[in-house]
């Protein structure tokens, strides 16, 4: 088992009176796909946004490569090597693939961008991910299919010297063939030594690519287990009830007290 690259310890987060995350522990290991599952409102997206620096955390620690870090902005997260692929992809339709991949981090001087360098780097990254479905890196994103957009968003995340990639529902809006492509890509990222976090509702996807499964239930981390040790049914129970046999919350009474 490889070293943890990103660790969350007792992280809490509230929005006003609503406590969304309760002392959440979470570990991401290099070279592994960690699936983060949970019902709607369990706090998955909030957890990702805390790691990404979009929401400040209220309590607890974030450790990156063993060192405590503070992440105040997306730029901080990017500097550490944490990249997030959001559910809505965050691509600008009117820009082309290269421009999107380098958005906010353009190369060259601010008064003369280095288009050649960016175009070559974008093409190398797409090639190293074995992306073959995009005909030209100068196509505007508006003309791409859903799977191609997802591919570009993922390629954008790994273009940098990134160590952890968080994918928020990457296959939610995709068809069968496109889901296949994206899952292959996710697997390839882990093989390349990155820590990958996959948020998904689709159990088939999770069991196919994830090495470990972390389950959130009403803002609590109820289980972090290797995929091979659990069954489909157990994970569903963890998601819906917060416990399954020995896994999850200790007693039924405890699960009922959420505030």
């Amino acid at each position: 088992m490889s070293e943890p690259i990103l660790q969350l310890r007792a992280v809490s987060k509230s929005f006003g009176a609503v406590r969304v995350l309760h002392d959440v522990d979470f570990t991401v290991r290099a070279g592994e796909v960690t699936a983060l599952v949970g019902d709607n409102g369990a706090g998955k997206s909030t957890l990702v946004k805390c790691v990404a620096g979009i929401h400040p955390i209220d309590g607890g620690d974030i450790l990156f490569e063993g060192n405590p870090v503070t992440v105040h902005s997306p730029a901080d997260a990017a500097a550490l090597g944490i990249e997030v692929v959001y559910q809505d992809l965050a691509l600008a339709d009117n820009l082309d693939i290269v421009q999107n991949m380098f958005l906010g981090r353009e190369r060259g001087r601010s008064w003369l961008l280095d288009e050649s360098d960016m175009e070559q780097a974008a093409r190398r990254t797409l090639a190293s991910l074995s992306v073959r479905t995009v005909t030209s890196v100068r196509m505007p994103v508006a003309s791409l299919s859903g799977g191609q957009r997802q591919t570009v968003a993922i390629a954008k995340a790994v273009l940098w010297d990134s160590k952890v990639v968080l994918l928020d529902e990457p296959t939610a809006a995709l068809g069968v063939a496109q889901t296949r492509q994206v899952l292959d890509l996710v697997r390839r990222l882990a093989e390349q030594g990155l820590g990958v976090v996959l948020i998904s509702h689709n159990m088939a996807d999770v069991f196919e690519v994830a090495d470990r499964i972390a389950t959130l239930y009403l803002g609590r981390m109820v289980a972090e287990v290797p995929t091979k040790d659990v069954t489909h049914g157990q994970v569903v129970e963890l998601i819906t009830a917060g416990r399954s046999g020995d896994l999850g919350l200790a007693r039924p009474e405890a699960a009922g007290v959420t505030q």
């Binding site: 093409r123 990254t125 190293s128 005909t135 068809g175 390349q192």
Partner: protein, 505 residues
Amino acid sequence: MTGNSGDDTPVDVTKGAPQAETGATVATSTEHPPGAAERAAPGSRQGDFGIDTTARTTGQALRDYGTRLRSGELGSLPALLGLLALFILFTVLDKGGVFPSLLNLANLLQQGAGRTIIAMGLVFVLLTGEIDLAAGTASGLAAALMALHLVSGGNMLGAMGTTVFILFVVVMLLAAALAAFLRIWWAVALSVVAALLLVVGFPQNAWLEMLLAISVGVVIGVLTGFLVAKVGMPSFVVTLALFITWQGVILQLIGDGGTLGLRDPVINAVANGNLSTLGSWLLFVVGAGGYALVLLNRQRTRLAKGLVAQPTGLVLLKIGAVVVLGAVATYLLTQDRSPGLIEISGVPYVVPIVLVLLVVGTYVLDRTRFGRHVYAVGGNREAARRAGIDVVRIRASVFVISSAFAAIGAIVYSSKVGSVSPAAGGGNTLLFAVGAAVIGGTSLFGGRGRVSNAVIGGAVLATVENGLGLLKQPAAVVFVITGLVLLVAAGVDVLSRRRSATAGR
């Protein structure tokens, strides 16, 4: 392959023309650390990216352009075709032969220039999906201050009255502070310049007065930008309110029913003067030569590095067209076009003015980080924010640019008229400018458009007005037709958007 991605239409929004890939070799740059994906796959399988490395001929590129047009990426094409049609139409209809005369065509350039420049600035605002309704009266206010400085011989305190004077200085310094808060440093500098020009009371000087006009434009833009971008008020409401406010300020400065004459040879020459014959040809050499050099240089480097590039034939065709058209226009404009005895010849000054602004604006939007971020904010504001772009600063900056361009436009149109009245920049000045940008192909929804769109659209509107005027049509007909032209342009924008949304993927 996914879905129906079998379409072979590589499209390029930045270059506006079909692209072809020519070199199969990709140089490996070591300037930047390799990305995570590269590190793990050092032998980077570039062969996999096969489709991107097929060279195309000019013919294929033209066919791709056709496919793109059918899928709704129209750009400036409708406006250019419209302009051509209008020229032919008016030449045929105008029995007196005045419309195609050189005097009228040069006049047309001078008439349309002020509004076109305002439209060029508006493109920046429209790109971010906002609107600047106050650009018209803001330009009028800039012109009023310029004229007041000229008429009063630099004694602004005496010309304005103490209260108004103090208010102006306070607002200018406030704008400087707000610009500093927004970290738009060039706007800070120009706001301070505006206050200095007011307070120090330099004697009358045309250049200083034009600088004052532009600085006032910047001050107005900072105020608008702050309210829209930082406070978060809708740009429509902010600029509507300011539209009315500036109209009142102009009235206060000039007085009801008054006009301020612009009796200065330099200011008068801006819109009415012409380059000498030598100067005209120099402009042609610099303009066309520069265009050719830039295009050829880009083509050479892109081919050498194996990047997506246009077919060389197409590039040469473009350069040839610009050189020939430029030479013909320069030759015609250097002929004597006066109907009387006094010779009038040479390219009007407004041509180099518009060209310089066009080149600078296009460069800023296409090649700089700021320009890229303007497009990103217009395309997907949330994506831009997550990418770490300072969205507030970008949104504020476009209003400063818009108002500064409006002030330059004001200098040109005031120079053409020779005076500034309380109605300057009011009425439909702004709406015509927005119309010019939209007719040229700039989208009101943000994210799509170029500075050149405003120039083409401005030419269309100027031609309609000028041509119908020569056909002795009453103002009623001119307004109706201009309105319909705008309606058609906006309709084309919406339809092409719908087309590209459905045909694109």
